[in-house]
């Protein structure tokens, strides 16, 4: 089970490293695009980070503001994807077991 707090912290650390922001400027609900923290390339590098750090692939149709607006939404997106993958894997195991 992945820890929400840990995911958020990793995302925050990534954002601090990738932008010129300081820690107390970025809250979990800070709107990252509205604040101009990420442009197109910034978003693309963030998607790379999510893939490399959490093994979560972003698909074309998942690239919506609801999944990337803030640390809260990115974290929820990552956790949902991981849980979905785990759930599918366990279903497969059940099928194999049967």
């Amino acid at each position: 089970m992945i820890d929400n707090k840990e995911v958020k912290e990793k995302i925050l650390q990534y954002i601090l490293g990738a932008t010129s922001s300081v820690e107390n400027e970025i809250k979990d609900d800070t709107l990252l695009f509205e604040e101009g923290l990420f442009d197109s390339m910034g978003l693309l590098f963030l998607i790379d980070f999510i893939r490399d750090e959490f093994q979560v692939e972003t698909k074309d149709d998942e690239l919506v503001v609801e999944n990337f607006a803030s640390i809260n939404s990115i974290s929820a997106f990552i956790i949902n994807k991981i849980e979905l993958t785990e759930s599918n894997d366990s279903k497969k195991l059940v099928i194999i077991h049967k």
Binding site: G36, S40, L44, D60, F68
Partner: protein, 325 residues
């Protein structure tokens, strides 16, 4: 920024006196080339597209057909229509042309090899001999999120496969493909310098301001006479100047990637007539509510489109900046 003086309407960008607009552009072009740049003629790279056609027509009107040359710069991925239409245009305006196939130059740079290598990193089944590839923005412009490109390959049986491009492959594809525009720029300057002419660039207002050009590629020119015109205004000029109807009716394409691709798919994400009006509205501080009413859209959608414009302009500022020293 222009001052807002009239209420927003669908006709707000219509040029009322096209002849006067053409005369002013031609007068300025003559002054820029002859007086400021001290050159005796114009070199225009013609692609069979609407922008370069209008620029060639304007240059001919400004300087006389004997002082303008059209350079056709096809390469392996160009549509054969581009060459045919560019030749038709030059014939119509009585302009001398030179055809320079830049495929060997691009092979020398490793343009195709580097691009195809990046495509194959994403889709291992990609066969560059049989399959075609393109990159495109799949998000709608009204989504309030920065644009990210997807890669699509078209298999020889017509089957399409698409995925979001990882940054490494995206950057490699763009960097490799930009050899095309930069090679064209080099060839245009070869002709310009050998004749003591100027290179006349063809970007329109959207290309300049949204950054739909390659730095030191098609963005490399001495003068850009239609850099202040909206696309619909370029079409108005094309009709007035007598650009061949086949060119006017042709869907604007990038003519850059092996798979066919409109400029709308690649970059703009909306039809030109709408984009012109929305860009004008944004640039002139019209309220989203007023624009929404005229264009029969939701205010929220207009607000998101305005944000997208702002992002595009900021993100591409680097392209418009001269070297810093």
């Amino acid at each position: 920024m222009e001052l807002k003086t009239k209420s927003f309407s669908k006709e707000i960008l219509n040029l009322e006196n096209i002849e006067l607009v053409c005369d002013e552009i031609c007068q300025k072009l003559r002054l820029d080339i002859k007086t400021k740049l001290k050159r005796r003629g114009a070199v225009v790279g013609i692609s069979g597209g609407i922008d370069s056609s209008v620029v060639l027509a304007l240059a001919t009107r400004a300087l006389g057909k004997e002082n303008v040359i059209g350079i056709l710069l096809p390469e392996r991925d160009s549509s054969p229509d581009s060459l045919m239409l560019a030749q038709k245009l030059a014939h119509k305006f009585g302009v001398r042309t030179f055809v320079e196939d830049i495929t060997p130059v691009l092979e020398g740079f490793g343009c195709y090899k580097r691009r195809d290598e990046a495509v194959a990193n994403v889709f291992s089944e990609f066969n560059p001999i049989e399959d075609k590839a393109k990159i495109e923005i799949k998000q709608t412009i009204a989504q309030n999120i920065p644009n990210v490109f997807s890669l699509t390959i078209v298999k020889s049986n017509g089957f399409h496969i698409s995925t979001l491009l990882p940054s490494k492959e995206y950057l490699q594809i763009v960097a490799a493909t930009n050899f095309k525009q930069r090679s064209r720029m080099s060839m245009l300057y070869y002709y310009a310098e050998s004749l003591h002419y100027s290179v006349v660039g063809t970007p329109n207002k959207h290309e300049v301001e949204q950054g739909f050009f390659v730095k030191y590629g098609d963005g490399g020119a001495d003068v850009m006479p239609i850099g202040h015109l909206y696309k619909t205004q370029v079409y108005q000029l094309a009709e007035y100047l007598g650009v061949p109807q086949q060119i006017i009716e042709r869907t604007p394409t990038t003519d850059t990637y092996s798979a066919e691709q409109t400029q709308e798919e690649f970059f703009y994400q909306m039809p030109f007539h709408e984009m012109d009006l929305l860009w004008y509205a944004w640039e002139n501080d019209y309220k989203a509510e007023e624009v929404a009413l005229v264009l029969n859209k939701e205010s929220k959608e207009i607000q998101n489109i305005f944000k997208n414009f702002e992002r595009k302009q900021k993100t591409t500022e680097y392209l418009r900046l001269p070297p810093i020293f």
